[in-house]
């Protein structure tokens, strides 16, 4: 699966803020149909990487290709067409505060599509349901939602146009472990159902081990390693060892299968993936 076509291809990405380099010479591929987890310490530029791919922060150099098109060479119409195929869930939800949840989901549909009110209502409610929200929440305003509901509403909006590529910025942060596990299942189900490609920034080791096909680790301003979680566990890189074998990581060690895979080189090699630096 992972060896397929790269939907997102980043090469030599440099981003700096006020002269300080945040990302330098970063390479990354996201393959069609996979769930890629992006990990890294706080302030290593995970969110900046997401925003750079989405064109929300200016990069100094490097190329970003999405769906095989260099995003710098797109004219207005092409850019809009590509953005329609991408769904983004921001860390804080970024729901429009003046609109109800249902209206939030309908915003992209209303702007990009011409649907009858009936179908648009039905699809919005379907997305809200798929995202695991109670239908009663559809008429609520973002300020009336709890943290978990905000995440789900943001996911419903990200799914509004049935995107092929979904960006999730810390989808499970701030959720209780049960809610987080539900959310992971939800993302996995949606990914299977809709054939999504998911790029997920996360700190949640459980998410990484349960739903991510591959993990890209950010440190020293670039992707220091990318591969299945078993390869991460087997890596000797000091930061990866600290991250995946730290105190809080002990839980995933005991999961059967993962720990067995950790010292199984065939699986680690099977990905045949780049950037194993």
């Amino acid at each position: 699966m992972a060896a397929g076509e790269a939907i997102v291809r980043v090469r030599g990405l440099d981003v700096d803020f006020g002269g300080t380099a945040v990302l330098h010479g970063l390479d990354l591929d996201v393959y069609r149909g996979e769930v890629l987890g992006c990990v890294g310490g706080s302030g290593t530029g995970k969110s900046v990487l997401t925003r750079a791919i989405l064109g929300l922060v200016r990069k100094r150099s490097g190329t970003v290709e999405v769906f095989g098109r260099n995003v710098d060479h797109l004219v207005q119409g092409e850019r809009a067409a590509i953005e329609r195929r991408i769904g983004v869930m921001f860390q804080q939800g970024a729901l429009f505060s003046g609109l109800t949840v249902k209206q939030n989901v309908e915003v992209p549909m209303r702007e990009h599509l011409r649907l009858s009110p009936r179908l648009s209502d039905e699809l919005a409610m379907l997305k809200i349901e798929l995202a695991g929200l109670d239908p009663g929440a559809a008429g609520k305003y973002p300020s009336e939602l709890s943290g978990g509901m905000t995440k789900r509403a943001a996911l419903a909006r990200a799914l509004a146009l049935d995107p092929e590529l979904l960006f999730l910025d810390e989808p499970t942060s701030g959720l209780d472990p049960i809610g987080a596990a539900d959310f992971d299942d939800l993302i996995a189900t949606l990914q299977r159902t809709l054939g999504l490609t998911v790029f997920m920034v996360t700190h949640d080791l459980d998410s990484l081990s349960s739903i991510c096909d591959r993990v890209a680790a950010l440190a020293d301003k670039k992707v220091i390693a990318a591969g299945p979680i078993s390869a991460m566990l087997a890596s000797d890189h000091p930061w990866l060892r600290a991250y995946f074998h730290g105190k809080r990581a002990h839980r995933i060690q005991v999961l059967p299968g993962i720990s067995a895979g950790a010292d199984g080189p065939p699986e680690a090699g099977a990905g045949g993936l780049p950037a194993q630096m």
């Binding site: 329609r84 505060s97 003046g98 109800t100 249902k102 549909m109 990009h112 599509l113 011409r114 649907l115 009858s116 179908l119 209502d121 039905e122 699809l123 409610m125 379907l126 997305k127 349901e129 798929l130 239908p135 009663g136 559809a138 008429g139 305003y141 973002p142 300020s143 009336e144 799914l159 146009l161 049935d162 189900t189 299977r192 159902t193 809709l194 054939g195």
Partner: protein, 379 residues
């Protein structure tokens, strides 16, 4: 890839069943087309007793496509027509299951008749105006108590924010306030001269300008400008602090927002507005002086001598005494509105607007009250 663009289907009779082969992309980007094709699919299916939907040639299917196929089948089965699915790919099967058609609970829309809504809105406005007044008075009490407390115990007084707000309200507001008053003084003089020329009484333009600017116009224009410039800023600051839970953070630290945020702003307004009014008066008179000189040859010396006989200290005082009251009202309204912001960016915008509108309205009301008061005491 040579995909047939958009959703399509072809039909063929197969015994007593109708076979509908769906092909192309049954996805939501087809927009209106997907709905019209689904309608056509339904119309076509109604011709037979038994229908088979062959999904084998669908290139792409998403929730919208799956939903519409499900909806069509459901409609048909309600009409007694059996619709079977054939050659469904496994990945579509999950999608068809997850996005299967079912009735959804829609959030209730605001119902009621139009007339009823107007009445309800009117009632709500009256009640909220009453609540505004109540809150305003309560707030005034809180502010006075906070000021009194800092007088009793001066170490509690926060001088740094006061100076900061004095700078932003008075110092940075001076140029624009001096400019608009200068210009309006000049315009007033010019219009006055044109009218008074008909009676050969142009020299009275000095009285006109002196009394009008000092008693009313200077303070009124300044207060309106401050309401628009600083009142709105205060509402926006407090409102966005409210939205970011900063005010809650202050409260749980045991700090009172009234002491920290409100008192410095209101005191700064009360100190600033008389100063700005004085500057505005001078700028307005200067504008009148220049125009009188240019149009009528009234020299500055003659203008100033005339001014001394035309206006007394009480004229100036009748204007400047209003400034602190207007400042207090601007501050109270701005703070009450700022703290009333809740939930959304839209609410912030609404409260900033109503802060400015209410302030300006109240400034004019106060001006009117003072006019009646001064008339009553023959000042």
């Amino acid at each position: 890839m040579d995909l047939p663009e958009g959703p399509e289907f072809s039909s063929a009779n197969e015994g007593d069943a109708l076979r509908l082969v769906l092909c192309g992309r049954w996805t939501v980007d087809a927009s209106a087309a997907i709905e019209t094709r689904a309608e056509a699919l339904l119309a076509e299916s109604r011709k037979a007793r038994q229908v088979v939907f062959d999904l084998g040639r669908i290139v792409r299917l998403d929730t919208a496509g799956a939903w519409l196929i499900g909806r069509t089948r459901q409609t048909l089965s309600a009409e007694g027509i059996e619709a079977r699915l054939e050659s469904v790919r496994p990945e579509f099967e999950i999608l068809l299951r997850e996005a299967n058609y079912h009735t959804l609970a829609m959030p209730a829309r605001g119902g009621g008749s139009y007339l009823l809504r107007i009445l309800a809105d009117t009632g709500e406005t009256v009640v909220s105006a009453g609540a505004d007044l109540y809150r305003g008075v309560g707030f005034l009490g809180e502010v006075v108590a906070a000021i009194a407390k800092s007088l009793v115990n001066p170490s509690h007084f926060r001088a740094t924010p006061l100076v900061f707000h004095l700078e932003s309200i008075a110092f940075r507001g001076t140029p624009i306030i001096a400019l608009i008053n200068f210009v309006s003084g000049a315009i007033l003089a010019q219009q006055g001269i044109f009218q008074l020329r008909r009676f050969g009484a142009t020299v009275f333009v000095i009285n006109l300008i002196g009394i009008l600017i000092l008693r009313d116009l200077g303070v009124l224009l300044t207060a309106i400008m401050v309401a628009g410039r600083s009142g709105s800023a205060i509402t926006a600051e407090l409102g966005s602090m409210k939205l970011q839970e900063e005010i809650d953070a202050l409260m749980v630290m045991g700090l009172r927002p009234a002491d920290i945020l409100i008192v410095p702003r209101i005191l700064a307004l009360i100190i600033s507005l008389p100063i700005l009014t004085f500057i505005a008066d001078m700028a307005g008179l200067f504008g009148g002086l220049l125009v009188s000189w240019a149009y009528e040859g009234i020299t500055p010396v003659r203008f100033l001598t005339g001014l001394q006989t035309a206006v007394g200290f009480h004229t100036f005082f009748a204007g400047i005494i209003k400034a602190p009251f207007m400042a207090l009202v601007i501050g109270l309204i701005a703070c009450v509105e700022g703290l009333a912001v809740a939930g959304s960016a839209e609410s912030l915008g609404r409260h900033v607007t109503s802060s400015v509108v209410k302030s300006i309205f109240m400034i004019i009301v106060i001006d009117g009250l003072f006019a009646m008061f001064f008339a009553g005491i023959r000042y």
